[in-house]
Symmetry: C2
Subunit: 231 residues, 2 copies
């Protein structure tokens, strides 16, 4: 080690949004803190970063521990750096966020670790500044959903257009026009229609689609800007 300077405790906290397709509800993962101060209070999932550990690796480690998941959407979001934000000591927290599709398996994995999924409108009080983190994450979800293909991270590989539409309803907190929504989505030419129907929500059934991520990323490289801001 070349540098000589006091060091800091650095934590990563992770705001995980999980969409439950069967209930069509957007949820956030919280867990009961095990260390003092505030042991037993609800908080986001998190961990200190270890010496020599990449920050992104620490984030993946935490997410894996509480959800069992690898290879899902996981990005840094914001740094909380006030020296007095945690009465237990000067801890810098780097908030991350993750988007996953929720199923019963994840719910079990969570419970095993003292964690629970809460619908976004039924969050309990959170410890420290974790309430602010949730608020920021909700804002970012809404704004980013308009310009990035985040919706597909919250749904299974195959989904119907009505399902996708109701997901965006949940994110934006209002009813979109299904006809304009469909038109906009299809106009991107990023969805592949399959020859299968899902009949879980209607007699007629709705065609399943897949999001062509490769095509999107190729276009994005060339400067393509997605715009999913529909009324």
């Amino acid at each position: 080690m070349t540098y000589s300077h006091p060091k800091l405790l650095v934590a990563i906290d992770c705001l995980v949004f999980g969409y439950d397709l069967s209930e069509e509800s957007l949820n956030i993962l919280a867990f009961q803190r095990k260390v003092e101060p505030y042991a037993g209070d609800w908080s986001l999932i998190g961990s200190f970063i270890n010496e020599g550990e990449d920050m992104s690796q620490a984030a993946r480690r935490v997410l894996k521990q509480f959800t069992g998941l690898d290879d899902v959407f996981l990005e840094q979001l914001h740094v909380y750096g006030n020296a007095d934000r945690d009465p237990g000591g000067h801890v810098l927290s780097i908030l991350h966020w993750s988007l996953i599709k929720l199923d019963d398996l994840h719910k079990e994995t969570a419970e095993k670790h003292g964690a629970r999924w809460f619908p976004i409108d039924q969050m309990p009080e959170l410890v420290l500044d974790h309430g602010d983190m949730v608020q920021l994450g909700m804002q970012k979800l809404v704004t980013n959903a308009k310009t990035r293909p985040l919706g597909f991270e919250l749904l299974p590989e195959e989904f119907t257009l009505p399902q996708l539409k109701r997901l965006y309803d949940a994110i934006y907190g209002r009813q979109l026009d299904d006809r304009n929504f469909r038109k906009r989505m299809l106009s991107t030419e990023l969805l592949e229609k399959l020859d299968k129907k899902d009949k879980s929500t209607s007699k007629k059934g709705a065609f399943l689609h897949k999001f062509n991520k490769e095509k999107y990323e190729e276009l994005a490289e060339k400067g393509y800007l997605l715009d999913l801001d529909v009324k």
Copy 2:
């Protein structure tokens, strides 16, 4: 201290954009690194965060030291958290960015500290991952300039519409249509026209304007979204 866990070195680095109105050029502040490894190489300005010091305070401290400025646009931008990003040791860097108006005084203050202002298209090679930081900052400047009132941070209190237009030309890297630009800017009703003219660039002179920041922030609170994406 309640927690027992290994700590990390945490630095803040600051990408400072300075707009020189007289030369109508956008610049970035770089300085010659004083510590090994890579002493003498160009880098962004930065510092380690001290024990008990707020991150934002550390950022302000660095900016003040190299520019003499307080109370200017300064925000966190991105965390660089790879354990091996610095061969001198595991140092987490929290990139910040700042936007200021450049004048001769700031150039002198910079030189006193071994720092220099470089036009954005004439940046030298930077140390470590600081080149990535500049690239990210440039991207963010372009995208954020479309939805936030960043331009006014780079200009003096009073400016003319042609000056503002040429600033955005520099940011976007292309010539905007002056008539559409003016219309869009005025349509926000966030500019106050003064009874003074600036004649530095024409015989006729151009009316000076002020940006009504209070009005903008009031509107922004209520959900107003600025849109300065003009052709």
